[in-house]
């Protein structure tokens, strides 16, 4: 049964049912496929047009020559069942149902229509994603729900009950150097739901980390089974919303989801070590840690900092998070003493390279190289920058050079208020070299510690 999802992710031919003539929202699906360079046939279905944007159109799926694997339906609500009947006749593998106006309206009609969709899909032997969803991004299959989506694939999967978060989270992760294997917008989830997708991504070789935005589920027993089967071998980062009365009402009118009780969800997360997060920042923080950092070793951390105050708070964060502050060896101390000025610096961990390092960013690179050589260190958090944009760019290059010779973790901090260090352009080289960047050491350490704990849990399960 599970292999039936392949039609969503690996279609060889696609039909767009109800493609609009002008620039209307539905047009994005065509633009998305063209932008990705989808390699198979794309068939356009329109009730009356003969041709749209220079492409031949058909009035129904019945007229389309050759097989159709996937149909993206964007036609008005009252035409959806006709479209689904055509899909059944053509033996399609999967349908992405963008059309909205069903259970999210909160009336009985919508729920009845969704039950009918489920029956048609089951009887027709195909799967339905949606309704009220944006569909799928799979860069290796060259399919995307919007134009401008990344064309390179990676190891992150994302399952979302919000279509707009597909766009926002993919953008944000791309800015931070993370790439996706598959991204799915579930919508109302009448057939393919969170549990199906967790199980499928759990088995998918390309997906090594799963992020999800979850409003709720219609079948919590299946979701529990899916989590049990997935979290033991792949991390599942879950942003669960709708856990208050206000949030639950909002979710109901958004995707018609049944959101459930906060205690039940929390015990579920604890039991299966689901990595629950509070907002998009925390989800991105954790995704970056899993994507870039090695969980091995004793997670012994060294902080290297120019400013002294943030170094003290970083040491607090390390200890609070259950990680340990590394003790640099005698050789490291000897080399640091030779490198750093005698006053306004500290050779203990946190290593304070002094304020002068803002004018001589080579001190940062030098200290980082010394500490990366130390066998008692697993991970370095480096916080600093230059006194000018140019010097901050040199600081960034220094980190990249030092990291090049080692498998140890290096985490960079783009501290608020440091000269231009939060500019995207300045940080891009770090992301491109797989060095995650966080705004504060507190956020970096929190994400790294959760990643380490998850891997210890998984090792303990054997």
């Amino acid at each position: 049964m599970e292999d039936t999802l392949e039609g969503l992710f690996f279609p060889e031919s696609i039909a767009l049912y109800g493609i609009p003539r002008g620039i209307k929202p539905g047009k994005v699906f065509l633009l998305g496929l063209l932008d990705q360079g989808f390699g198979g046939p794309i068939h356009l279905i329109h009730p009356s047009a003969r041709e749209i944007d220079g492409y031949r159109t058909y009035q129904s799926l019945d007229q389309v020559p050759g097989p159709v694997d996937l149909v993206i339906v964007m036609s008005p609500r009252d035409t959806v069942f006709d479209a689904l009947d055509q899909c059944a006749r053509r033996h399609v593998k999967a349908v992405i149902l963008y059309t909205s106006g069903f259970s999210e309206l909160g009336d009985e009609t919508g729920r009845e229509a969704e039950a009918r969709m489920r029956r048609i899909a089951r009887d027709g032997g195909f799967r339905i994603l949606g309704p009220n969803c944006m569909g799928v991004l799979s860069p290796d299959s060259r399919i995307a729900p919007f134009p401008g989506m990344p064309k390179t694939s990676g190891k992150l999967g994302f399952i979302s009950q919000s279509g707009s978060l597909v766009n926002l989270f993919v953008n944000e992760c791309s800015n931070k150097g993370l790439a996706f294997s598959h991204v799915v917008s579930i919508g109302n989830g009448v057939d393919v739901d969170m549990a199906d997708l967790l199980e499928w991504m759990g088995r998918d070789d390309k997906t090594l980390i799963i992020c999800s935005y979850c409003e709720g589920t219609r079948d919590s027993a299946r979701l529990v089974r899916a989590l049990r089967g997935t979290t033991a071998h792949k991390p599942v980062i879950m942003w669960k919303v709708g856990l208050t009365a206000a949030g639950s009402r909002a979710a109901a009118s958004h995707t018609g989801a049944m959101t459930g009780k906060v205690d039940l969800w929390n015990s579920l997360f604890r039991q299966f070590h689901v990595l629950d997060v509070y907002d998009i920042e925390e989800m991105t923080d954790l995704a970056m840690a899993f994507y870039n950092l090695e969980p091995g070793g004793a997670a012994r951390v060294v902080i290297i900092s120019g400013p002294g105050g943030p170094a003290v708070s970083a040491a607090d964060a390390v200890e609070r998070s259950g990680l340990s502050m590394a003790v640099p060896g005698e050789e490291s101390i000897r080399r640091l003493r030779a490198l750093l000025p005698p006053t306004g610096t500290s050779l203990d961990n946190p290593i304070d390279v002094g304020l002068g390092a803002s004018f001589d960013v080579g001190l940062y690179q030098g200290a980082l190289e010394i500490i990366l050589d130390d066998p008692g260190v697993d991970t370095v958090v480096i916080l600093g920058g230059g006194a000018s944009t140019e010097m901050s760019a040199d600081f960034v290059q220094g980190i990249i050079r030092a990291k090049a010779g080692t498998d140890k973790n290096v985490i960079a901090i783009a501290y608020p208020g440091f000269v231009q260090i939060d500019q995207k352009e300045l940080l891009r080289p770090l992301y491109e070299h797989g060095i995650p960047v966080y705004p504060t050491p507190e956020r970096a350490v929190r994400a790294y510690a959760r990643m380490v704990r998850y891997h210890r849990y998984r090792s303990a399960r054997g």
Copy 2:
């Protein structure tokens, strides 16, 4: 006794003791005063030079003509006591002691030297700030510890046991439209300490909000008294570090501070409603809320959002934080129905203006105006942006226009992944109009709710 701090904040004449000839760290104090345009005489003291950078220098304070209110001492450690003896002879009001190498080195010599400084200050009738500190920023007195500091004053005070955080936090707040009354770097705090400064800023008419970075105190009883006297009429936001063994060791080698036990500090914070924060982001979040938002009304919040997912999570955040989701009136619903497209939107709170609003950002402004007219609403959190940088700039201007006609709170969200909405240049107009901007609704609501709770506590005290 307390008025003796005036010499630090309102000096009419300043001497720089031990000003270096070349570009060395100590030179920043001269550059800072010149950059601010300090109006009184600045006297340079150097052991041998006759002239530095075109300014006449003196070999000792004794030779300086006219009164000297404040002396900034940056000469080497072994000259400090000679400098302090000269200060006593000249009846100065205050000394800022930049020179480091005392108790932060962890030896008995440093502690003895600091005890001797305290005696000299007491006997000489002047106050000492430091050693190992950066001094004071007071824009209205035109004094600053570095060049490039803000020249406009505001209602935020900052007391810091880290000199580098003075620079970083002031920069970050300036980026977000917040201005400072006075900023003080305490250093090792041999004489003027956190308690003195809390009391002084508590009485200062210009300072309405106090932020602090605190490593520890030598006299906790005095700090308790200072907090009791201050938090009842001014909010004190405190970033307390050194609460773990690692953090405590780091603080000891940073400013020689005694950091104390976490339980004691936490009970102190609860008892006096100190607003404790975890990192610089949380401190800035809270400072923005106190600086820009009105605590009045019933704190009834409306969320206006383009993307649906973040709107659901924002509703969760409002309810979790103890605020209430406003119920828009019938008139508002009627006007919203006339404004917004019939599908893909929601008129309930959270108000979902639909994805089309990215292409028609006037929908954001229209919805915001309608909701700001609603007598049942105190605060609006608006999350959105345009489909291009230009449209996002229009979105920003729309918020400013809608806010212009009202005293209600408007909080803007620059959501991660939204087109260019996190660009500093794009957001600057919002900050300039006193509209705080947060990256997520979760962070916005958390800060706003803490601000509201603090004001309720203060009202309850009467």
